[in-house]
Symmetry: C2
DNA sequence: TTGAAAGCGCTAACAA
DNA sequence: TTGTTAGCGCTTTCAA
């Protein structure tokens, strides 16, 4: 920066101003400075800037995984709008491990991110403590609560899942199983399962533990879940799934066993992955507003950082997508 | 840090050492310092550390998109091994726009990343210039070249695609079409297409431009590509695809048109997405070493940053995965 | 509108 | 092994 100042015949303060608040510098000097900057290929030091201004123009995120199209889409949208506003994204993955998440949060806080994004509202005590002590503006995405500890931009996983059950019950299904995601340490998966159980009760149907199983995130896990639930002497006539990947696993296993969907079995997914509409029959599922959440949370953060405007929780819709894998019980 | 020093009755230098090079401090003081750190919830300032040490322990990456399972997997692996070694990942997406990529690179360089990861070897002149002037250690992934301008960890897209064509020719196919990805500004897509064209020539087959089409990355693009190539009076008996998403689009369109695969048409994909083995028939494709590339490039960067060991280009295997969508020409 | 100068919170010589 | 001290390269008062 000193080189620029010397070359332009001004002080370093003027160089700094010309770069950061161009309006506070006369046109002539501004031009002189920017031309020298280009000429000398000057790239300012983010570290020095951060130290002096106490802003890094960096936002941190810790996500459970990137190997999930829905998260990836959300993060991409998040990054895109951050980037448009001059921020850069530090991403970190927790692998659904709360302890590891704490480490990742600490790492991001050490990097002095201007804000932090977390997935869900289920976190280790140390994570909450860390966030609170740091004073770093933090938002949660993907979750839902009346009074979340931090602003949360998400949707109501439980009631979305419940709507799917309503649909099944309307179609006459009485024995409904669920291949859920692993709910331990995952409030989204837990909410989806809870939503299903509550809806069942509301309709006066029994919640048969033998009809519920939890599985990790792969097609083969879906197949295995299907096998467990169907290999009973009184198998369900419909299966609700914790996500589309599990639902597709269910579909694949049904296909291989010669069980016709939806004629003999109804199946519902959750997420509305692009491929689900291409399947035949196309998967009935629930659409998750992943891009909207990513964009909205980035916008909220940017606005907050710009002028202190408060970050409000937002609840997005997660509409039911009726397609071909559900039908009235035979 | 001064608070810690005061509380522990030592100098700030000792605090710094106790935290960064524990071995250079006596056990007693080290314990005293770390206990005060915990007690006071001290979090070091990355900016100050970066300014003083000229290291940010941060690595930047600019990827075309995260909405591609293969990239996402690679980035996740990359992040995981960086993280294990104390580095944090700054990600940025270019949307396949070379000019935007330059901006993203500049942004990462301003953040003073210790190293940079780029996808492919096709970049704007300004990108190369920027990287070179900065002196920032940079690796490319996903590409392949004899003498790349920067170390490149990838695989030979062209010859992998060529092998697929060899297979088709062996099966007796003579009219082979291709639904390729958009090759403009994408050396991977271009290499795949070139590999196909060269293999065709090598086998003495004509390269019929009407049998080739380029499409973006979605199932519907694959369907449209299929339509274009098949709606000729002399349609191909086999279609090679630039990636699995396009290949699935081709499969879906064939299914909807009542064209039996592989009986009437052979189809080959590229990427080996998890779902391709679940389809019926399962997709014949090419496996891309996405996780290996992510892990290896992170390891190479970490090693280089630790002791200056040079980063060598590496070529990974991209094996042909023979499954059910290819068959001898009728 | 511009410049001088005092830090921002660390690390890394160098000395002790 | 520990402490002293001089920066790292900016931003930001404060004065001019």
């Amino acid at each position: 920066m000193e080189d620029i100042a010397r070359a332009a015949g001004v002080s370093t303060a003027t160089v700094s101003r010309a770069l950061n608040k161009p309006d506070s510098v006369s046109g002539e000097l501004r031009r002189k400075v920017t031309s020298k900057v280009r000429e000398l290929g000057y790239v300012p030091s983010g570290a020095a800037r951060a130290l002096a201004s106490n802003r890094t123009f960096t936002v941190g995120a810790v996500v459970p995984t990137l190997n999930n199209a829905i998260f990836a889409a959300s993060i991409e949208a998040f990054e895109e709008t951050l980037s448009k506003n001059g921020y850069t994204l530090l991403v970190t993955v927790s692998n659904y491990d709360p302890t590891h998440e704490v480490e990742q949060i600490r790492r991001l806080l050490e990097r002095e991110v201007d804000a932090l994004m977390l997935v869900g509202l289920d976190h280790h005590d140390d994570a909450w403590r860390l966030v609170e002590r740091s004073g770093c503006p933090t938002v949660a995405i993907w979750g839902h609560a009346k009074n979340p500890a931090i602003p949360c931009l998400g949707f109501d996983n439980a009631s979305a899942a419940a709507h799917a059950i309503d649909h099944l019950v309307e179609l006459g299904h009485r024995r409904i199983g669920m291949v859920a995601g692993i709910s331990d340490g995952n409030d989204r998966a837990r909410a989806r399962r809870r939503g299903v159980e509550r809806a069942l009760k509301r309709h006066g149907l029994p919640v048969d533990a033998g009809l519920f199983t939890e599985r990790p995130y792969s097609h083969n896990d879906g197949r295995a879940g299907f096998a467990e639930v169907m290999d009973r002497n009184d198998p369900p006539t419909a299966i609700m799934c914790g996500n589309d990947v599990l639902a597709m696993g269910v579909l694949f296993e049904a296909r291989d066993r010669g069980i016709a969907v939806p004629a003999e079995l109804s199946v519902i997914g959750f997420d509305n992955l692009p491929i689900t509409e291409q399947l035949s029959p196309a998967l009935t599922t629930i659409q998750v507003p992943s891009v909207a959440i990513g964009t909205a949370s980035a916008n909220a953060i940017v606005a907050h950082l710009a002028d202190g405007s408060p970050i409000h929780s937002q609840t997005f819709d997660a509409p039911f997508v009726l397609r071909g894998t559900t039908r009235a019980v035979p």
